[in-house]
Amino acid sequence: MQIALRGIHKEFPRENGGTLAVLRDVTLTVGTGEFCCVVGTSGCGKSTILNIVAGLTPPDSGQVLVDDARVDSSRIRIGYVFQKPRLLNWKSVQDNVAFALKASGVSAAEARQRARHYLDLVGLAQFEDEFPLALSGGMQQRVAIARALAIEPDLLLMDEPFSHLDELTARGLRAELLRIWQQARKPVMFVTHNALEAVYLADQVLILSGRPATIMKTLRVGLPREREMEDPRLLALQREILDALGITPATAVRQ
């Protein structure tokens, strides 16, 4: 399955009556089974792109196309991982995952079974009966990832899912995510402001300009999988992204 955005424009009304142009002519393609990262500075409209793909926000103009046909946004199954876990705190961990499954039409009995399987996959099998608030932030985000994967989505959307976590936890989850993605081979759109994270994860990195956002540059990461975060080739690609965003090297204070 291939997802394409064609000429997406989006403005939001402002309190003072004016409008705020957020996206301008955003055109991109995420190939079958491709891991695509969208990089840009904070508040540039990255999340809006995901919300448009998910059908939560209608674009002012432009199209979201699945396999070159106009998409009925309710037709494809979308797994969404947000910046914050966004769990239902009044439901157990297992019921949180089962909620998404039931929402996509899976029977209650099968939902339970699949919820268990995917919680096991993210290493939370023994926490399935806990309430979310009893878990750490990293564990809550793993529940959110299990919820998105459990519905076996046609497309996985991830909005800075690791940005609230400490680097150690984030590294573990990135590696886990890649392992699971390599088995499922479904397209992923992953939004981040972390350039190194983007080149570590992605096949394709899209670099957004500031508001209104448009795609400035597309970068192919041709490196083989089982990448190392400290690989000098990744660091060179990271530099390329930072240059495109206009972020100069942090020069050490010299005497």
Binding site: S74, L87, A103
Partner: protein
Amino acid sequence: MKSSSSSAEAAQGASIWQRWPALVYLASLLTMLLVWHGISRFFPPALLPGPIPVFARVWEIIVSGQFVVHMVATVGRVVAGFVLAFVVSIGVGIFMGVNRTAERFFEPNIVVGLTIPSLAWSVIALMWFGISELAPVFTVFVILQPLITVNIWQGTKALDHEVIEMARAFRAGRAMVIRDVVIPQLVPYLLAATRFGLSLAWKVVVIAELLGLSNGIGYMIHYSFGIFSMLDVFAWTISFTLVMLAVEYGLLKPLEARVAGWRRAVVL
């Protein structure tokens, strides 16, 4: 670091008060009775009867069958007025919470409603409906409705829209969003509204009963006043308080523990 968990491990080394929270409630009630008993010894019983004669009188009232007759009348009016106010408030409160225009439209009505004293409404209702069941039920309804509406309105405004958006992203239908995402967030507000709604309803209904009805707790308090029996005034007041305590600890508290159990999972 302190855990509010009541598991066996946490109880180790905890004082007897922490291990048996019911004892604290009991001690609280006993203290009140003791203070009452102590003070009453300094006054003549016609002015301030002590707990022992009052509870003896309560027992007499119960045995005589009068208790059931008047309690059923009062509780029936409280429940009817409360349920009516609750149903209307859910509709209006949620509408106000989700619609800016509805909010602006109903807000002044609520402010006006909140400022009218229950005595005024009781008199008005009795003059409108005469001596009938409609008068006290209407009074309870108009007094409670703005208060409960405010609660539900605030609860609706405090809804977490991020999890609602999450549910929509996963294609949850409207019914599922309401059942699994919206209502659980409103439950604490509904419980709070129930608790203070019921306690206020009974204070309102006795005024209506005192002014113009011929049965109910309010009428009996008024009747006791007529024969100048302080013992009976106390006995009827206490008997209704006992019913309210039973509702609080037998119904509301256990219900709250059940629906808000997930909050206890928070480890501080």
